[in-house]
Amino acid sequence: MSENVLVLGATSGIGQPVCHKLAARGCALVLAGRRENELQRMADDLKVRYQAAASVATFDAMALDTHKAFIDSAIAQADHQLDGVLLCQGYLPDQQEAQADFAEAKRTIDVNYTSAVSLLEPVAAHMAERRAGWIAVIGSVAGDRGRMSNYLYGSAKAGLSAYLQGLRNRLAHAGVHVLTIKPGPVDTPMTEGVVDTNKPTVATAEQVAADIDKAIRKRKNVLYTPWFWRPIMAVIRTIPEFVFKKMKM
């Protein structure tokens, strides 16, 4: 049976290859993002490659008060039956700049955290009412512990992670599944020039997308991708704060 899936931030580096996976297994996609032209190009591409149904919808992650109406129209676009939502938008600031300029810090918090709340609450209401569906959200390993080099991005992802825990708990009673995705550094346009893509720990977006697709199908709760980030982050979380604060991470 074909599922109707809304992808928020569809043109993002991880969003795109996940859309390929979803289209390949017959999902009908609503691709949502800021740049209509690029979304349309992507929809056409998925139609040619997978003979998939794909339409586009535009929204701005920063325009928080438009989100309720946007989700309502996206649900209508998906024939009032939204089976899945994948949220991929993210914003990685330069930490120094975000420390010095609150507008940059706010943007980081709004794109990575606040917009997820304003977008997912109406989604949750729709799915709870239908008593079916899944929500998958891209967080980050950076949210597992605040570090000096990346704590504004990390704190927004940490907030997102706690939000999703609560949402999962709430929606579990309504038969709706919530997946928290925690990728390590991935080679995408967002991280271009920030992470060194030659490092063996930097994953390709295709690898991560394959893990995400599998986790959605298997209804996993928390996915670390690639897998080795789970033990690494387990160790990093256990370092006592009095030691951690002296480290330069």
């Binding site: 740049r35 032209n37 690029e38 190009r41 992507m42 056409d44 591409d45 040619v48 490659r49 997978y50 346009p189 271009e192 020039g193």
Partner: protein, 453 residues
């Protein structure tokens, strides 16, 4: 985002430090081409041209591989419109299971549509179907002044002719409209014939080419004397469903996937010395008797694609691929001279490929004309290699032959000018569409295709 990277063509011959960008949107591509700090730009697809055609050391090298959207496909006519950064492999992966295959394909599927047009590439079916450009209905180009225009046989026809085989010098190709061809299966029915020497090989090709869509010969270029030019001919036709073995008939368009291997590092020089290559070639010839079998497209068209980074077997210094094209009346004597020169130089080459070519390409700088073409790898040994290619160029010039720009890494401006009579026409078209020489590659500079850039 501009990164500093030392890059070369597939032959890894003389890598050079370049400033490289990889735009992810059409707007970003527009900015990359108009970028004020780059006096010049050249497009680079998957980097499979062997020499310096897709690098531009003083300016910017713009990778097109992130712009890989398929735009439209008509299931009834087989016309595909796609971004130039889409690879032949992607086209095959998505459309072959639906019964459509490439009009022609080079020996690797890791080539972008833009690259295939820019080099007007050819394949094993050239004697019958012509080169890639023949199936191209239209190209979309981003010009030096920022305009995006279409070019086809009826619209901007001169620009179209300058784009087929034009190595990206008239404008940056952003989309290609291509006529695919119908196929019933993803298999070829292949006949192998051995030829004990060159004359026999040419005779066999003349006799058989009308009966086979695909034809190519693997030639042992270390064989000397009477065995000079001995080879194994591979002659193939598209297989019908009934030709397939029973267990493949239920999925004729989806052959089982092959495992791919990787060459993990540059091999040391001793691995491909004359002794090992001679032994390999002997074995190859001995193993292939006259035979017939059904082979899937991947195995038939892309034998080396299952080995990632195979170019590393030639070691750190890299190699060049020399491809010579000779008109029919010069073919036998010219090939004898070329093979003798290569044999004398004792530069081990793996298998070389001999093929009969069909009609001339339509592009001003299209490579092919009717005759015979020989392609072989020559490892970079420094001065001895340079002496050898000079000698080979000289033989080609005397025999009215021609070099292939997608492979060339070494030739000189006057040699090129003698081989391509339409070079001046290309320069004129370029003067119209790119008067300030925005589009330049290291190759165009080396060969003086673009003067004072």
């Amino acid at each position: 985002m501009i990164r500093q990277q030392t890059i070369a063509g597939w032959g890894n011959y003389k890598p050079q430090p370049c400033r490289v960008t990889r735009p992810h949107t059409l707007e970003a591509l527009g900015r990359a081409v108009a970028c004020a700090d780059a006096r010049t730009v050249i497009a680079r697809g998957l980097g499979r041209s062997y020499g310096d055609a897709a690098i531009n050391p003083p300016g910017h090298t713009v990778e097109t591989t992130a712009l890989n959207r398929m735009r439209a496909f008509d299931e009834s006519t087989g016309v595909l419109c796609a971004d130039a950064g889409v690879s032949l492999g992607e086209v095959v992966a998505h459309l072959l299971p639906r019964g459509w295959f490439l009009p022609t394909t080079p020996g690797t599927r890791f080539v972008t549509l833009g690259g295939a047009v820019a080099a007007d590439v050819h394949g094993k079916n050239h004697h019958r179907d012509g080169s890639f450009g023949k199936a191209v209905k239209r190209v979309e180009l981003l010009l030096a002044d920022g305009r995006v225009v279409n070019a086809s046989r009826t619209e901007n026809a001169e620009l179209f002719r300058a784009t087929l085989g034009g190595m990206g010098l008239a404008g940056m190709i952003t989309a290609v409209e291509l006529q695919l061809r119908r196929t019933e299966t993803a298999y070829c029915d292949v006949t192998y014939r051995r030829a004990s020497g060159l004359a026999r090989a040419l005779e066999l090709m003349e006799q058989t080419n009308a009966d086979y869509r695909h034809s190519v010969a693997w030639i042992d270029c270390l064989a000397r004397g009477a065995a000079l030019g001995r080879c194994v001919l591979m002659l193939g036709n598209d297989a019908a469903v009934d030709d397939l073995p029973e267990h493949h008939r239920h999925r004729p368009l989806q052959p089982p996937r092959r495992r791919s291997k990787n060459v993990p590092f540059d091999f040391p020089p001793c691995v491909l010395g004359p002794t090992t290559v001679r032994a390999f070639n002997k074995l190859y010839y001995a193993r292939h008797g006259d035979a017939r079998k059904v082979v899937d497209f991947d195995t038939f068209f892309y034998p080396l694609d299952s080995i990632g980074h195979w170019n590393r077997i030639y070691g750190k210094r890299g190699f060049i691929q020399y491809q010579a094209l000779l008109p029919p009346d010069q073919a036998h004597d010219g090939l004898v001279e070329l093979l003798e020169a290569i044999g004398e130089a004792q530069l081990g080459s793996f298998l070389a490929v001999l093929k009969k070519s069909g009609e001339s390409g339509e592009g001003l700088m299209s490579y092919m004309f009717p005759g015979y073409t020989l392609a072989l790898d020559l490892p970079n040994t420094g001065a001895p290699l340079e002496r050898l290619v000079d000698k080979l160029d000289h033989i080609l010039l005397n025999r009215n032959g021609r070099l292939y720009l997608a492979k060339d890494a070494t030739t000189r401006p006057d040699t090129l000018a003698a081989m391509y009579p339409n070079l001046d026409r290309l320069r004129q078209v370029k003067a119209t569409y790119d008067p300030n020489h925005r589009f330049v590659s290291a190759q165009a500079r080396r060969l003086g295709i673009v003067e004072d850039a």
